[in-house]
Amino acid sequence: MASLTVHDLVVRYGARRAVDGLSFEAPEGAVTALIGPNGAGKTSTVEACVGLRRPTSGTIEVLGTKVPGPDRAMSQLHAHVGVMLQDGGLYATARPLAMLTHVARLYPAPRDPAELLMAMGIDPDTRTPLRRMSGGEQRRVAAAAALVGRPRLVFLDEPTTGLDAVARRTFHDLIRRYVDEGLSVVLTTHLMDDVERLADTVVVVAAGRAIRVGTVADLTGDEDSVRFTAPMHLDTSDLTAALPPGSTVEEAPPGRYHVTGNLDPLALSTVTAWCGQHGVATKDIHLGKASLEDVVVDLVGDM
């Protein structure tokens, strides 16, 4: 069952379509990651889903409630939904525990604010106001504010931006624990580490549309390939001929070459030899499965 269903969503800013017919579902008790380039429409989608932005057209259903809706219906829905905005969202002059305690009081069955802050690596007894905390610390408090209401569904918009590696791992572990307890998560991020460690489903968004949906494994595939970057539009017919039968060489997007098929241990040396013979300066050559970042760059670059 889906905790969130978005169908044919359009969000326009004047003449520009930030979201242009986006459709996807976020399953219950799982992490759904929306990934894609800047300006793809991810944040506009999140804002529409939580009632901060009115869609131009399309339908959104959050935990069985149509969004947007009347104030009273949205209030009842928000009792079960947490939101971490892409930036800000905190009272600058307040201390973390004071703000979190106030936010907790707005929900029917909140988590303990002090425990949550400790889990996020923030000292609940700190007297430092939020405006004097580092960017990473503020993001952790914002994440805690999104989770303190014990939501069934939480939207996390670039939650780990500005977090150090340790804090990111702590955050991943905490989210994974809550997901194991039944929490549904819609995550937007540019950090593939977040996606690979957290996401059960990945929605690749570009130009306001979903261009690919699947698990990380679905997207990356399990087929080995040789991938390298070189000048655009090279004639690779004799490289194909030099490779074992069944191998193919594709250029997508321009300047990025993928050699797939029946790759034997000599494939990599065949490619480098071909490059040497043709005076082609290569960068980033490697043999193995494509990373998620490779896949996203290829998908977005193809558009």
Binding site: V50, G51, L52, D71, R72, M74, S75, Q76, H78, A79, V81, G82, V83, L85, D87, G88, G89, L90, Y91, A92, T93, A94, A98, H102, V103, A104, R105, L106, Y107, P108, A109, P110, A142, A145, G149
Partner: protein, 249 residues
């Protein structure tokens, strides 16, 4: 934990009141400046006071009316507009828009917080006036009605300003309006001392009507019906404007 609309409104009011009382600039506007004006107007004759030529207790009563009006305008308009604008800029209001708190509950919380801070300031200035020799007349309680109507008239305009423009612009405009209203809105300089037709015009401003209502209660011990109607009209107009222009971010 809170699940009822009234409970959330009270929680928000408590939170907003705490923020106001911890903010030094807000305290300066809502408590220190009104107290300073009371001392200047009540004890010295640096500025004219519209007390019908009376002296002593009446002079302090008239000054107290002015000070209460200053308190209402500073807390209900200037402080509220500036605080709201900076909360918008920090994204705090956008975040609250994703919690169970509704827009009506947020605005109700801000109104109650403003009333609370105004009440604290009024208590401080009233005690100071008593210490300076003011003796309230029977019927001075009407001033509480005038104060409540004054807050209701100014708060929507504070929210309309703070909820529509950039924080820096709100800071400049709210302080500018505060100073202009103080000097030429029938507050510090009495309407009767202003050149015509300003003296007639200011009676229809929320500042002039508020001072008239407070003066009538404190000096004569009776309500000023016209002033109350004018304040109610500003409340209605302000509410209509605020609901149209207020933005969460």
């Amino acid at each position: 934990m809170t699940t009822s609309p009234s409970g959330r409104t009270l929680d928000q009011a408590r939170w907003e009141t705490g923020l106001l009382l911890r903010n030094g600039e807000q305290l300066l506007l809502t408590i220190a400046i009104p107290l300073g004006i009371l001392l200047v107007l009540g004890v010295t004759d640096v500025l004219p006071v519209d007390s019908g030529g009376a002296t002593g207790s009446d002079r302090i009563a008239s000054a107290l009316g002015v000070v209460m009006a200053v308190t209402v305008i500073s807390s209900g308009f200037t402080s509220l507009a500036i605080a709201t604008a900076f909360e918008r800029r920090s994204g705090a209001l956008r975040f609250l828009g994703t919690t169970p708190l509704t827009r009506g509950e947020l605005l109700g919380g801000k109104l109650l917080a403003t009333l609370s801070v105004t009440a604290i300031s009024v208590v401080i200035t009233t005690v100071t006036a008593l210490l300076l020799g003011w003796r309230p007349t029977a019927g001075a309680g009407w001033s509480i009605v005038a104060l409540a109507l004054g807050v209701a008239a100014w708060v929507p305009w504070g929210l309309a300003l703070g909820g529509s423009l950039r924080a820096e612009a709100v800071l400049a405009i709210a302080n500018g309006v505060f100073l202009v209203i103080l000097m030429f809105g029938g507050v510090v300089i009495p309407a009767s001392s202003l050149p015509g037709p300003l003296d007639i015009l200011v009676a229809y401003l929320p500042s002039g009507a508020l001072v008239d209502g407070l003066s009538s209660a404190l000096l004569l011990g009776q309500p000023d019906g016209v002033a109350m109607v004018i304040l109610l009209a500003w409340t209605t107009a302000g509410t209509l404007v605020a609901t149209r222009v207020f933005r969460w971010s």
